[in-house]
């Protein structure tokens, strides 16, 4: 079997890649995709810890299932907002959405 820390390494790398995408991309859809990457990294972490530490207890898998729910809800609302913004501003670049900025 592959040791636990390898899974955690993959998950940590994926999380940081996602974080970099969220902080640096200009396109709102790309930011949303990066958020999905981060959620996935969290899921890998949860399932890996579950498998190696408490395989009899369902907490890890149950939490991962809830992360799926959150991700689905987040994607639906996020994309709705992006489409709504695009309709009003003709742009999906987050820097252009600055009407509230003083």
């Amino acid at each position: 079997m592959v040791p636990l820390w390898m899974y955690l390494l993959v998950s940590a790398a994926l999380f940081c890649i996602g974080a970099y995408g969220v902080l640096s991309r200009r396109n709102a859809v790309a930011i949303l995709m990066s958020v999905e990457l981060m959620l996935n990294a969290v899921n890998i972490n949860l399932v890996a810890f579950w498998r190696y530490l408490t395989p009899q207890n369902m907490s890890g898998q149950a939490f991962a299932a809830f992360v799926f729910v959150i991700a689905a809800a987040e994607a639906a609302v996020g994309l709705a907002i992006i489409i709504s913004v695009y309709r009003n501003r003709r742009s999906v670049v987050v820097e252009d959405v600055n009407l509230l900025k003083g």
Binding site: M1, V2, P3, L4, W5, M6, Y7, L8, L9, V10, A12, A13, L14, F15, C16, I17, G18, A19, Y20, L23, S24, R25, R26, N27, V29, A30, L32, M33, S34, L37, N40, I44, W50, R51, Y52, P55, Q56, M58, Q61, A62, A64, A65, F66, V69, I70, A71, A72, A73, E74, A75, A76, V77, L79, A80, I82, I83, S84, Y86, V93, E95
Partner: protein
């Protein structure tokens, strides 16, 4: 050194998919390519779930993420035609973001991974794993996760209604 067997080779391939796909998502200029990289990454994660004996989550990952979320994203990319209007991919603080991401990685490395680092030793891992049926029971068991489960269903309904209201044409 990592012993080469079906599991470890699978792990290497799927982690390469996951990380490579992730890098593709944040770096690709064409957003459709980005979405396809995202699918590659999600597929790799599904493979990792299978290796971790969480088959149910793997199937849900393919169904929900690849079958629904990724396709929704591709759809949104096509609707907003954003790939043609893209000048700069990254904003002005990209180097700062890279610094933050690398810093975070080091932090996780020291804070989370080092404490559980065990070399190649996996002898303490129990071979008995709870099944999908246990997961199903846990989600509706009054002593375990029935309340979060119900809250999650309400959240999904609220998100669905919210998405429809936000995206609807005003006329």
């Amino acid at each position: 050194m990592l012993e080469l067997n079906a599991q470890s080779i699978g792990f290497l391939i799927f982690s390469a998919f996951t990380i490579g796909g992730g890098l593709g998502v944040v770096s690709s200029r064409n957003l459709i390519h980005g979405a396809l990289y995202l699918i590659l990454s999600l597929f790799g994660a599904a493979g990792l779930f299978v290796l971790l004996s969480a088959e149910f989550l793997a199937a849900v990952q393919v169904l929900v993420y690849i079958g629904a979320i990724a396709i929704l994203i591709i759809f949104a990319v096509m609707l907003t035609r954003s790939l043609t209007r893209l000048g700069e991919v990254f904003n002005k603080q990209w180097w700062l973001s890279a610094l933050v991401a690398i810093g975070m990685f080091v932090l996780i490395l020291v804070g989370v991974i080092l404490p559980v680092f065990s070399g190649m030793d996996t002898s303490g891992v129990s071979p008995n794993v709870a099944t999908t049926i246990d997961l199903g029971v846990a989600l509706v068991d009054g002593n375990q996760y029935v309340l979060p489960f119900e809250v999650a269903s309400i959240l999904l309904t609220a998100a669905m209604i919210g998405a429809i209201v936000i995206a609807r044409d005003n006329e």
